[in-house]
Symmetry: C2
């Protein structure tokens, strides 16, 4: 049994910043559920900082990981989570390749809020989508707020930041772009493969990406609200896609 050292605490705090994550090649996975999901994956976990209760309850899963015991108070102070936190893991950022454009994918243009990105990763996982490509000004998929909002789904959905217009240009798939004026998703016949392109709530899909849209689509409105949250809209469109293609 060891305690969190000053240097470890410094590292934990540093990893809340994107620059530091990049420099170290590491990111944080916080919270009981997320850490347990992490241990089921092939990701390389450097350390797990956790309460004695957490360590005792999950001894088997933690066998091959270096564990550091800490009090709930220490962990909460060290983490970016507001509420109590039983476990924090330090994990290597995996090296990933740019995904081949196939199957159903999501493309995000300028979605800068980490909570929204995390919620989109979670709903993508619900609907069995494996790949999200995102413009380089989207939120960092390794931001602790993103990871937290995924509720464990971060390990099953790969997010790749890249030059989005170039990616869309080379993809030979239909590109479904969400716009306020588009074809009603309740009426649309979706292809079995395609890219669902979502823009930010404030700016929508920007022209550089919008030029590759083959089908403008929209979620019909029935009341007074003028817009939908981008994660909510993504979930509703994926549900409409899956009703037609349950095995794509």
């Amino acid at each position: 049994m060891t305690m969190i050292s000053k240097n470890q605490l410094k590292l934990l705090r540093a990893l809340s910043q994107k620059k530091q994550r990049k420099a170290h090649g590491l990111f944080l996975v916080e919270g009981e559920k997320n850490v347990l999901e992490l241990l089921e994956t092939s990701m390389v976990t450097k350390h797990v900082f956790a309460t004695s209760e957490f360590l005792a309850s999950h001894r088997e899963q933690l066998q091959r990981v270096e564990c550091i015991e800490a009090s709930l108070e220490e962990l909460t102070k060290a983490s970016s989570l507001v509420s109590n936190n039983a476990a924090v893991a330090v994990v290597e950022i995996p090296r990933t390749d740019i995904p081949v454009a196939e199957g159903m994918m999501i493309a995000l243009d300028g979605v800068s809020d980490p909570g929204n990105l995390g919620t989109i990763i979670r709903i993508a996982d619900w609907y069995g989508i494996k790949h999200i490509v995102a413009s380089t000004d989207c939120a960092d998929p390794y931001n602790p707020k993103t990871i937290r909002a995924t509720m464990g789904s971060f390990s099953r959905v790969q997010v790749t930041l890249l030059d989005l217009p170039s990616y869309l240009a080379q993809a030979s798939l239909p590109v479904y772009g969400a716009f306020l004026e588009g074809e009603n998703v309740h009426k649309l016949a979706f292809s079995a493969e395609g890219i669902l392109l979502m823009g930010s709530e404030s700016h929508g899909v920007r022209p550089e990406a919008a030029q590759y849209v083959t089908d403008k689509i929209t979620i019909p409105a029935f009341g007074g609200a003028e817009s939908l949250n981008v994660a909510m809209a993504t979930g509703i469109i994926l549900d409409n896609f899956r009703r037609q293609h349950s095995d794509a």
Copy 2:
């Protein structure tokens, strides 16, 4: 032109607490979009605290309201919003009656997060739902975080906290309860009228309310995620309902 007085600042701060909102019969509407939506309603606005730019740009809508000019810095300090805030309104909590059970409604059981409640109000408004009934341990619809998340929809959707089991007992409508094991919403034939009953993410629908469910429903999953956020699930189910009943 006046400035925020010490007593006004004290009131603004106090209204972030439920007890104080109840004692004063007042709540806060924060942020440019929400305040502008407010001015279109019949709600009684006591004061609007806003920047000189906001006051100048919306002179006509603000004619019948007492306005107090303040700097962006003062407003941000006075409000519960993290980011800059151009306007804060102090508004009378409207007196409302318990809604008659008719049309499509939403019932919430133990949904205690104000952000989730606000997002549900917003998506209810998108799909033209006018009434939400909620168990008394749900988040306060007049919590500033709830109001903020509604993005203006708070003025078009009435939320009534009440004894939920009693309400469901007297309602002569089908009650659609969201459960992990239920009929697939892609296959279900919805009635034109009904109550959509949603539980909290952690506890689901509790037995006291669940006993009145006439139809257990579920959103089919295709990937690895174990659960959906309650607001996301509400939106997806409402979309499935509206595809069948676009004018209910």
